[in-house]
Point group: C2
């Protein structure tokens, strides 16, 4: 994402807690800051892309929120809970700083190609200001006020996780019943069951290639966040709850470092059909 | 499907329990039989496309299985439980008749266009014999021995039903949290959450257009068949069980005649958020 911004001509100052990760950007012309606070001093736009909500919180309250210029636009592209995104916007709002929560979908491939799906929550004016930045990164859609971008990412992750579970249960049943799982997947491709998950994660399940990709832990983190958000709204979401339970048990029993498509293994274990 | 077979030049004799449904075929050159047994007398290939397993059973044991020529190929394109498909094949096998279970996906649109996904179970030789017939109807894949076609259809329906539930839960959460569901759907289209269901059934949910389409009762029938088949195999499939429970309650409480995408209404009711 940093390389895409440099290619688009932006003056970029970067910080990472692991300094060596900034080298490829430095070689392409980015300035490298020693601290996050140094990185945002004088910036017009501040982007964060961090592991989770507490990491964003730590960076903001550890100096960045105080040092950021009052005219700056803050865009958090991390995947964090909607209530934390709202808290961050409120914190920055005290200094008159506009904020967008704008998590992405599309992975490393989408980031490199500039084809990320960007789900942005915040004021329409803030979204307009962010458009030149977003244009370098992918396809941005404003999905509502502050917190809505984070909500959209949870929706995305709910659909991805549950669809992975659906494909895994379907492949498990057809194999147990004596059909050829690869032929079944081929037969149903292009019909109403067609999905990116059937295409990509289904292929991983058939070849039993569970090197990540997207980690099961990340999938679990987002599903847990979706369930907490649903509870805050007084909502019961049975399928989200069901697939969260599967991922939770899977991560606890050794699946943490595998791709999220490895949920098939959790279902095989549940049914004592390990291979 | 009958019209497609006539267009492909097949000599077609048809029967339907509702005689007026055969008129469009008669006008295009099909012979019309007064009974199912009359329809299959002298046939090289016998196709059934009926509501469910018991309907196929009734037609077979009501004379058709006895009258069908021993050299005939039987192709059941109905969606029925795999164990019934195996029973039918065994019954016909006693007379030396080959059988395929070859249910389809793609709906009325796919049937008219000859683009059905055909999932065929049976011997390779029987599948080869059926190819000229299948070519007039859609894209056929052999997915295993007798019963495998029915299994593949269950897999298809599991994925469709669970994905509908995933999209419904996601839209419910983003709306409750104050995001714009239509914008969220637009934002996540084309990413890992993309599916035919997000495209077609998601659009129905947003416009609240629940005229079928595919009935919730049919979805429930297939999910119940998938659960029974899983039980026969000693498999526990938590997401299939969860979405079956949702459809079951929905059909019992007035949803029977609506499209299967109306599962959104069941989730709204569960959460006392009727609109």
């Amino acid at each position: 994402m940093g390389l895409r911004l440099l290619d688009a001509g932006f003056d970029l100052c970067v910080w990472n807690r692991s300094p060596h990760k900034t080298l490829p950007l430095q070689q392409r012309g980015a300035r490298v800051a020693q601290t996050a606070a140094q990185a945002v001093a004088g910036a017009d736009v501040v982007l964060t892309m961090l592991a989770n909500g507490p990491a964003v919180n730590e960076v903001l309250t550890g100096g960045v929120a105080q040092v950021m210029p009052a005219h700056a636009l803050f865009i958090d592209m991390s995947s964090i809970p909607p209530d934390m995104a709202r808290q961050h916007a409120a914190l920055l709002g005290q200094r008159g700083i506009s904020a967008l929560d704008a998590p992405v979908s599309g992975g490393v491939v989408g980031a490199a190609a500039g084809t990320l799906a960007i789900m942005a929550g915040g004021a329409p004016e803030a979204f307009e200001r962010a458009l030149p930045v977003f244009a370098a990164l992918g396809r941005a859609t404003r999905v509502g006020p502050v917190g809505a971008g984070a909500l959209a990412k949870l929706a995305n992750q709910m659909i991805v996780g549950i669809t992975i579970g659906a494909v895994a249960e379907a492949l498990l049943l057809v194999e147990a019943g004596g059909a050829d799982p690869a032929a079944v997947r081929d037969a149903i491709r292009g019909g109403f069951a067609e999905s990116r998950v059937l295409e990509l994660h289904g292929a991983r399940m058939l070849s039993r290639n569970f090197a990540p990709g997207a980690h099961a832990t990340t999938q679990l983190k987002d599903l847990a966040s979706a369930l907490r958000t649903a509870e805050d709204e007084g909502l019961e979401l049975p399928l989200t709850r069901g697939v969260h339970a599967l991922y939770s048990r899977f991560v606890e029993t050794g699946g943490a470092s595998l791709d999220h498509s490895a949920l098939l293994l959790a279902l095989e274990r549940l049914n004592a059909r390990e291979r």
